[in-house]
């Protein structure tokens, strides 16, 4: 390994953390991991728990694959990746069942489905297989943050407008309802998650001109 010496948080490494937040966001730019963005963003709490779970899985699977990257036979690399991701997901699932049973029940099958989350496999294939351990770890954390902030932003709007609550606490005051305000039922249906993600993409592209494709 001819990696030159650089500090742990050099500019290049910091880029690994900050790029996925905006310029290379896994959801809004690469359009990966949409299914979980639809399914678990009705409320904030499951969205945050999901984000943490994905962050754990991504950081450690990236790291482990990076450690093993020179000894994995190329032709069976997908299987090896799946085994590692699946083991990490099972750990997350068991921890959630033990310590946060309610949330675990709400997330139901979607914790298990982290295995198929395209972002995880995508980063393993695209990054961890060709980069050092520390850099892969940072890349996993960075992409998970990029995923998390979109998830949390969508969940924020859906819970606030759909049920008038945040984290399960009533935010919209009772006097509003007496004046004729109503919760927006469409926000609770999954199409609205796509539309909110769409609006975020729209705003992001109008602010960040370099994302716009040239024809």
């Amino acid at each position: 390994m001819a990696e030159e010496k650089e500090s742990l948080f050099s500019k290049r490494n910091r880029g690994l953390l900050s790029d996925p937040l905006n310029d290379n966001n896994p959801i809004t730019v690469q359009v990966l991991g949409i299914c979980s963005a639809l399914a678990i963003t009705v409320q904030l709490k499951p969205a945050i728990v999901m984000s943490i779970a994905v962050m754990f899985v991504m950081a450690f699977s990236n790291m482990i694959i990076s450690v093993l990257r020179n000894s994995i036979p190329n032709r069976i690399r997908i299987i090896v990746q799946l085994v590692i991701v699946a083991s990490l997901v099972i750990i997350v699932d068991q921890v959630l069942k033990a310590y946060a049973y309610d949330v675990s029940k709400e997330l139901s099958v979607f914790v298990g489905l982290i295995i198929t989350n395209c972002i995880v496999m995508g980063r393993l294939e695209a990054f961890a297989l060709g980069n050092g351990v520390w850099r892969s770890f940072l890349d996993g954390i960075g992409n998970a943050f990029g995923y998390a902030w979109i998830l949390i932003a969508v969940a924020f709007f859906r819970e606030l407008l759909g049920s008038g609550k945040l984290f399960g606490f009533q935010i919209v005051p009772q006097s509003f309802y007496e004046m004729g305000y109503e919760n927006n039922g469409l926000m609770l249906l999954s199409p609205m998650a796509l539309i909110v993600v769409g609006i975020i993409i729209w705003i992001q592209r109008s602010k960040n001109r370099k994302l716009i494709e040239k024809h």
């Binding site: 004729g180 109503e182 927006n184 039922g185 469409l186 926000m187 769409g198 609006i199 729209w202």
Partner: protein, 383 residues
Amino acid sequence: MKFLRDKIDQIKKPFGKGEKLEKFAPAVNALDTFLYVPNHTTKHGAHIRDAVDLKRTMITVVLALLPALIFGTWNAGYQSLIQIQETVPFMDALIHGAWKVIPMIAVSYGVGLGIEFYFAIVRGHEVNEGYLVTGLLIPMIMPIDLPLWMLALSVIFAVIIGKEAFGGTGMNILNPALTARAFAFFAYPTYMSGDKIWVSDASTTDAISGETILGKLAAGQEAGYDMWSMFAGTIPGSISETSVLWILVGAAILVITGVGSWRIIVSGFLGAAVMAFLFSIWGANPLMDFGMLHLLVGGLAFGIVFMATDPVSAAQTNRGKWIYGFLIGFFSILIRVFNPAYPEGVMLAILLLNVFAPTIDHYVVEGNINRRKKRVAKQLKTA
């Protein structure tokens, strides 16, 4: 006329090229072209220029909508007053209804045009006239007692997500007016369906019955109105959807001026009739037994005449229009009967077919190309 022209030019002066208010030029230009035909000509290529531009087309549609709108306004007042008195004078009903309908139209135009002007200024293009029709259609397909802020929100959603996100007038995939209704329907279901909302003030007056015919049938009751009431439209329902008579007058205006496609209208009713006939043979519940009367109730006529014919979101080829219209009628009755929770099958059917319209066109064009290829191949062989 000269006086008016001078006056407008005077107003437009500070908005001209290089002047300080140039950015807001689309707003004044919209006013100008509302009164006069625009002065610029096509610069490149060969184009057919017609006196009937987008603005005249839209005004024709608005004219076609007026009979149904006026009747709807009267009916809104009539449905409310007939519950508390024996006879309802014509003017009383009209005025009562107007108090409800005019604020809705004002909100719809105010909010919608505000967004259109904003996007026109930001994007630097002229304001398009499409909203003149959409803004009138939206209140016409809403229940009379819908709170105005919900109407405003539906308009915002329809114009921004349904239209501007795709690039503005002429680029939308879905019909914007139906997008607004679908938004309101799924976001605020208690205000868009049920038995309390179709007659104005029904929830505050005691002992009032305001269920729509489809709602009654879904609940297993009798329709309770004769055929003439259904045709003339003196029944509860969304503001302008009830009167098949006046909707057909609008349809005649659209077809005679060539603005609306008669193929879509005819095939739409045909599709609905076929489905209604099939269900009347089956006859398992009151909704199925209703048979051909399905064509007279609910939003079917209004949807087929004014929504399905929207030239932007409909199919473009002639053969495609037949398929598109037929499937709209077909699915409308299907959704109505099989899912009584969605009595407005026509709304969902049109939105669905809007999505499929380009696909239909694609296969019609492909089929045409293949047929002509075969013909050429045959001629070559015989020659």
